[in-house]
Symmetry: C2
Subunit: 349 residues, 2 copies
């Protein structure tokens, strides 16, 4: 996965294309899509004979960001100006798959980005890397990643929530509430990151997809018994399980948070159809999000980004006071990983 | 475990003791504790040469009841008059341990009761057995038990909840709500048993020990975050986990319903100390029990027994309208198993 020693032909071609791109942005129609996506304004650095980077001779630092989520890992390599040199992808790198597997997935993604950029092998130690990883709070994970060997000048690890928050507030102080399969609040104040919730389902992760899915299963079983009204939500959940509550229970023996979250869309749909049971679940989730936001404000947050798959869906149900403090994220989590790496520039586009 | 062929000496001695017991109940002080526990008024039956029981010659039916709970299995053998001939004990026979293991545990308990009674081998086919078993609703369990060979005249299987309800209402129509590790409502109307809830944790079993325990863990994590007040309940739960919410989450990876139910006593204690979080959990549990009782009433129940370890504890928190319909159980589940077996007598004592 390591690119060939020396500057590759691909790299030089890209650099030329990039210069054309920057000099003639209005005449780009004829250029390939690839070059448009990856504008380069990359000054080649040199190393002196001792191998020490000579800043004075034009050597620049490169920044590598990795966003390693529960299902997918993305890598982006940029120069100091924020121009994208290369990107890479790999599968899930969540620590749930084990530290070694997780690290190997990260390596696959970053090697792909380095190869995509056509970087010379001896340019790799000019990279400062930032990695946001799902499950980073798992016991022992932080220590294991810190001790892992890497080829970069520096590497910093954090949770996926931390880089999402860094991206959302362009590397500045701010808070984010992520409501996806799980839920977590994160606040960065005076350069320090603190989290609220997000300990994992079913004890924590209020209002998350997993939480909503469990409530949906509970509701369906109650409706089957005639202990609550059989509306569209209960009907749809029961239909998934052959109208058999025993089948639901068998499923729960092995169901993961992700499995439970798979029922959440049924709740959202049914709530939009004014199904009473679904609306109660969504309203309770909204109250929990309001409480999350209140706790973030109590810790000093004044502007909060609501992110994650369920964020936009639940937004209309939130209290007006909650919606008042919500702001749109400025950049994505991958950009946040670049800020974590130490980049202080402004993302392009 | 099968007693020797023919009437054993022990059996004859007991029979004599029993007759003394019944004839001279006021002069029993000198008899052994054993004979007091097991009064016998058992007329010996005979079989004709074809092996068919000859009712006319004085043969009577014996009744064997088994209460096979999640942690313990009890057996009781009686005659038509309700006099106890023998008792037996064994470990957990819940279907969770697998059908074969479960059946072997049942056999150990019933063989112990038969041996304790000193029954002759050829008297065993005069027994009508009734077995109430935890986890009987598990898929395939009813079919497996029905197909299992047995040495009795008849055998009937049901869930542990069904025999509890039969015992509570002396074999007559009635309803019972059992709130222990799990929760289930059961109603017998016109000789037919129907259940409400009890499908299993975490989807069902509202207000159960497991449900309360999960809520306690959730509350503790919220309090750790400062998202709710740190009262005695949160303090006690966190202390159990070294004040580390991550340790709670690790525990939930493997925690069973029984494990969660282990936290319920902390909730009950804290609620009695007016801890706000604990009171909210107990109040929510009480509302769920009120709803359970409402559903049983809607199905025709007029008198409901509240049983299980958490029943008495939660009773003071129930709505007055709920408490108004609660009655004390008349007999225990083991007696219910004897009714299931077909016995129609009145329990002694």
């Amino acid at each position: 996965m390591v690119p060939p020693i020396g500057i590759s032909l691909q790299y030089i071609l890209r650099r030329i294309e990039s210069q054309i791109y920057h000099e003639n942005q209005s005449h780009l129609a004829g250029l390939s899509q690839l070059s448009c996506q990856k504008p380069l304004s990359f000054r080649l650095g040199t190393k002196n004979e001792t191998g020490i980077i000579d800043e004075g001779s034009g050597t620049i630092t490169l920044y590598l960001g990795l966003d390693a989520g529960g299902s997918h890992c993305r890598a982006r390599l940029i120069d100091e100006n924020g121009d994208i040199l290369g990107t890479g992808h790999a599968g899930a790198a969540n620590t749930r798959i084990g530290f070694e597997n997780s690290l190997n997935t990260l390596k696959a993604a970053w090697n792909a980005a380095i190869a995509d950029a056509g970087l010379a092998h001896n340019d790799i130690d000019r990279i400062r890397a930032g990695v946001g990883i799902a499950g980073y709070k798992r016991a022992g994970a932080a220590e294991a990643f810190a001790a892992a060997p890497h080829p970069f000048e520096t590497i910093r690890f954090a949770s996926d929530a931390v880089i999402a928050n860094l991206g959302a507030h362009a590397g500045k102080d701010g808070a984010t509430l992520i409501v996806g399969t799980g839920s977590i609040g994160i606040i960065r104040a005076h350069g320090e990151d603190k989290t609220i919730g997000g300990y994992g389902f079913p004890v924590s992760d209020e209002a998350s997809g997993a939480w909503i899915g469990l409530e949906a299963a509970r509701h369906a079983v109650l409706a089957y018994d005639g202990r609550t009204e059989m509306g569209p939500l209960a009907r749809n959940v029961l239909d998934r399980f052959g109208d058999d509550p025993v089948a639901i229970v068998r499923w729960t023996d092995r169901a993961t948070a992700t499995d439970y979250a798979g029922l959440a869309p049924l709740v959202v749909e049914a709530a939009q159809l004014a199904d009473a049971g679904a609306m109660e679940i969504v309203r309770t989730a909204a109250i929990q999000i309001d409480a999350f936001v209140e706790a973030l404000i109590a810790r000093g947050a004044s502007a909060i980004c609501l992110m994650g798959g369920l964020g936009p869906v639940l937004r209309p149900w939130l209290a007006p006071t909650t919606r008042d403090v919500l702001v749109e994220p400025r950049h994505d989590a991958l950009t946040g990983a670049l800020f974590l790496a130490g980049w202080t520039g402004l993302p392009r586009g």
